[in-house]
C-alpha cells in the first residue's frame, strides 16, 4: 500500500460509538416494569396480542431474554405522547418491554399499527436482549393478515423467500399474533442492520 500523505488533524473532536455489552442475567429488578407489556390496555377494543417464544440455536427457550417493541399508531404515526414508561391505561405511547417467562415466552398487548409509508407494510420494530447477546438484535414483526401489503413491501421483497416468513407474525387467535424469535439455526429469524453494525 502506498504511503499515505499526512491527514489533516480533526478540527472537531470525534464522537465515537460507545460499545455494547450484554444485558447479563441480573436485570430483573431494573428493567421489567409494571405495565411494560401492556402498550395498549388489554381491555381496549383495538388491543391486539403479539407473543412468542425466544429460542436459542439448540431450540431451547431463553427464560433470561427480554423483548422490546416500538410501533406507530393506527394511522402510521409514531406516538409523541409523554409517559412512554409510566403510561396510563387510556393512551398509547407505542413502546413496550416484556421479559420472557420461565418457558422463554413473551407477550404484549398493543395496537396494530398503520403503514408508515406508501407502499410499505405495517410492522412493529422488535429488539431482543439477553445473557449471551453481546449486542441486542433488531427485527420487525409484520402481520400475516396483510398479504397484499407484505407482498409489496420493499424490505420483505429483498429477503430470501425461504427466510421471509420469519418476519411475519402469524394470526393464531382472534386479535392475536404469534411471533417466535429464533436466534440461530433452523428457522433463524432475519435480524436487521440499520447502519449501526459498526
Amino acid at each position: 500500500m502506498p504511503e499515505q500523505t499526512d491527514q489533516p488533524e480533526h478540527a472537531q473532536p470525534e464522537y465515537l460509538q460507545t460499545p455494547s455489552q450484554t444485558v447479563g442475567p441480573f436485570f430483573g429488578y431494573a428493567l421489567p416494569y409494571a405495565g411494560g407489556p401492556d402498550v395498549r390496555a388489554p381491555w381496549q377494543p383495538d388491543a391486539v396480542r403479539l407473543h412468542g417464544t425466544v429460542l436459542d440455536g439448540a431450540g431451547d427457550p431463553m427464560p433470561d431474554a427480554f423483548v422490546e417493541i416500538w410501533g406507530a399508531d393506527a394511522s402510521g404515526q409514531p406516538s409523541t405522547e409523554l409517559g412512554s414508561f409510566d403510561r396510563d391505561q387510556h393512551g398509547f405511547a407505542g413502546f413496550g418491554r416484556s421479559a420472557a417467562d420461565r418457558a422463554g415466552h413473551y407477550s404484549f398487548t398493543t395496537i396494530k399499527p398503520g403503514a408508515m409509508r406508501e407502499g410499505s407494510a405495517p410492522y412493529l420494530l422488535v429488539a431482543v436482549f439477553g445473557r449471551g447477546i453481546l449486542q441486542h438484535l433488531f427485527t420487525r414483526a409484520y402481520f400475516g393478515d396483510e398479504p397484499e401489503a407484505n407482498a409489496a413491501d420493499p424490505l420483505l421483497g429483498r429477503i430470501d423467500e425461504g427466510r421471509r416468513d420469519t418476519l411475519i407474525a402469524v394470526p393464531d387467535a382472534e386479535r392475536s399474533y404469534r411471533f417466535d424469535i429464533v436466534l440461530q439455526g433452523e428457522g433463524e429469524t432475519v435480524f436487521l442492520d440499520y447502519g449501526t453494525e459498526i
Binding site: 427466510r163 435480524f191 449501526t196 459498526i198
Partner: protein
C-alpha cells in the same frame, strides 16, 4: 455446598489462549483498517454466545419513521430520587459512596435530551439482588442496586451509588467479572438504543474477562472505562467518576435519499 464444587473444567489459562488467538486473528483480518466498536456477537471465549448469535448476515434495512424517533419519556416516568441508589432504604448501604456523571451525545456531539437512562449493579460485595445470583456474598438490606434518570437539556446524567464489587461467574473455572455498572440508554432514534456496562479504571480483571474482551478494538474497550475526576468528588462525601456516552446512528433529522428503496 461450597461453590468451588461443581466447577467447569475450562480454566482461565484456556480462556486466555482463546482471547489472545481471537485478538491476533481480528487484527490480521483488519489489516491495519478499523476494528469495530461493538463486540463480536459470536465471541467464543464468552461461552453463552455459542448458541445465542445469528449465523446469517444481518439484512440492511432503511429506517422508517418509527426507527428514526424514540419513545417520549416524561416527568411522570422517573422521580428525581431514583438517581440516588443510596437513599432507597431506611439505612445507608455499605461500601464506597461514588458519583458517576457524564453526558449522552449523538455522533455529531449533540446532547441526547430528556431520554431515559436505566442503571443496575451488584452491591459492594459483588452480589446482585436476584434469586439466580448464588454468589455467597452478603446481600445488603440497604441496597437494591437499581436507578433511573432522565437526561437533562445538555444530555447530562448524575448518579449517586456505591462502588460495586467484582463477582464470580461460571463461564470457566475461577472466572471473575471486573466491577461494573450496567447502563441502558435510549437515543433520539430507536436505532441508537444501547445497553452496556461501565467499568472502573485500572481493574486487574480486564485482561481476563471475555465479556470485556469481546470488544476486539482496545481503544473501543477503553470507552467503557470511566475516568476518576477529582472535580466530581464531593468533600467528606463521595469520590467522583466521569463517563460520557456516544450513541451514533441515524438521527431524527436524517433524510432518506429519494428512491433509496429501489436502489
Amino acid at each position: 455446598m461450597h461453590p468451588s464444587a461443581n466447577q467447569p473444567e475450562l480454566t482461565q489459562a484456556d480462556i486466555d489462549v482463546e482471547i489472545a488467538e481471537r485478538s491476533a486473528a481480528e487484527t490480521d483480518a483488519a489489516a491495519g483498517g478499523a476494528l469495530p466498536s461493538h463486540p463480536r456477537r459470536d465471541y467464543r471465549p464468552y461461552r453463552s454466545t455459542t448458541l445465542r448469535h445469528p449465523t446469517h448476515e444481518l439484512v440492511r434495512a432503511d429506517p422508517e419513521e418509527i426507527e428514526l424517533v424514540s419513545p417520549a419519556f416524561g416527568h411522570t416516568d422517573v422521580a428525581p430520587e431514583e438517581a440516588d441508589m443510596t437513599i432507597q432504604h431506611a439505612g445507608e448501604p455499605l461500601g464506597e459512596r461514588i458519583i458517576v456523571t457524564g453526558r449522552i451525545l449523538d455522533g455529531d456531539g449533540r446532547p441526547v435530551r430528556n431520554q431515559l437512562v436505566e442503571i443496575w449493579q451488584a452491591n459492594a460485595s459483588g452480589r446482585y439482588v436476584h434469586k439466580r445470583d448464588q454468589h455467597p456474598a452478603p446481600l445488603d438490606p440497604n441496597f437494591t442496586g437499581v436507578g433511573r434518570i432522565v437526561t437533562g437539556d445538555d444530555g447530562s446524567y448524575r448518579l449517586t451509588t456505591i462502588k460495586p464489587g467484582p463477582y464470580p461467574w461460571k463461564n470457566h473455572r475461577n472466572a471473575w467479572r471486573p466491577a461494573h455498572i450496567h447502563f441502558s440508554f435510549f437515543g433520539t432514534a430507536f436505532t441508537q438504543r444501547l445497553i452496556t456496562q461501565m467499568y472502573f479504571p485500572g481493574d486487574p480483571l480486564f485482561g481476563l474477562d471475555p465479556i470485556y474482551q469481546s470488544i476486539v478494538d482496545p481503544a473501543a474497550r477503553e470507552r467503557l472505562v470511566a475516568g476518576y475526576d477529582h472535580d466530581v468528588s464531593v468533600p467528606e462525601w463521595a469520590t467522583g467518576y466521569r463517563w460520557d456516552v456516544v450513541l451514533t446512528g441515524p438521527s431524527s433529522t436524517w433524510m432518506e435519499p429519494e428512491d433509496a428503496d429501489h436502489a
